[in-house]
Symmetry: C2
Subunit: 190 residues, 2 copies
């Protein structure tokens, strides 16, 4: 029963849903907890919300747009997790390390969502001509890396390197190439 009983609705069934867009996103995120992104169908999300498949098109131009919306929510959560980890560690160098640990932890806890974030062309700064998002990036590492790429400074390279380590670690673990071992994470980041 993948229907998440959010909302205030007293199980009435009005013709008009009320807030379909958010409901679709919520259902999508819910499904991504147990399913991977490419096996997720638009029709399944619509079914979960109890709505016809084509009504999705009133809120998203196509399936890709729905996926992008899910990815954007994922990006926000990932950014929040990193910020929270950094603050909990009191900022500074220790805070930055915690940011990396949070990154990997988020990936392992939300495999499908994490993958979706980086599989979304619309969220990729180097692509996405209409880069309405590019400066709204909530990713600490991305911001640092972006600055890096421009002036090519020493600190910039370090930021990219740090991002690459945690991203590589996360991906390799998600793909079953290396064991999901906390000790490995700690040692590789330190």
């Amino acid at each position: 029963m993948p229907v998440n009983d959010n909302t205030v609705n007293t199980d009435k069934k009005p013709y008009h849903h009320g807030d379909l867009r958010d409901a679709l996103i919520a259902e999508g995120l819910c499904l991504l907890d147990s399913r991977d992104a490419e096996s997720l169908s638009l029709r399944e999300v619509a079914r979960g919300v109890g709505v016809s498949a084509t009504s999705v098109y009133r809120h998203f131009p196509d399936k890709q747009a729905l996926m992008t919306a899910l990815a954007l929510e994922g990006l926000t959560r990932l950014g929040a997790a990193q910020r929270a980890a950094a603050e909990a560690a009191g900022g500074g160098k220790a805070g930055f390390a915690e940011t990396g640990r949070a990154y990997v932890r988020f990936a392992l806890a939300n495999p499908a969502l994490f993958r979706l974030i980086f599989a979304s062309p619309a969220l990729a700064p180097q692509k996405a001509a209409g880069g309405m998002h590019s400066e709204a990036s909530t990713l600490l590492l991305a911001n640092a890396a972006a600055a890096a790429a421009q002036d090519g400074g020493e600190a910039g390279i370090r930021a990219i390197q740090a991002w690459a380590v945690v991203h590589g670690l996360a991906m390799l673990m998600l793909d079953g190439q290396i064991p999901e071992d906390d000790a490995i994470i700690d040692q590789a980041i330190g």
Copy 2:
């Protein structure tokens, strides 16, 4: 016209293809040069070879198996590229660094194939119960990392770290998160 004219066939059309399995793999690899893996359909590969869709099932139990075969070929090529790079640099520390550069270069040159390799559960040592492949891994980094994961030695962690850096770099570049810049690769690996 995505049909690659491999083979000795003198454009005859015998009922029996001769070597459909290899032809399907060749066509698949060819299509992966211009298309990404998830948009690749079994029917399209069959069409490219000039054969009915269901005849594919004589050689592969399902689409997944075809994709795994493609991924395996990709893995072999990636391993070969790394070995060649290492040898060209004369082995040693410089050779190891070249191995990493070759890894990223391969990813940028064959985006769809590279992604497919790591999207194939059957090639993931940590999954794939019937790990008929696990010891046949042609990936230098994977071997080093595998040894690392077991005895948890210092050298092992370094191997994993190195793998994570190049893998992360490759993925982030493929995903358009950082520019595909040779200078960045050199500095991040160095």
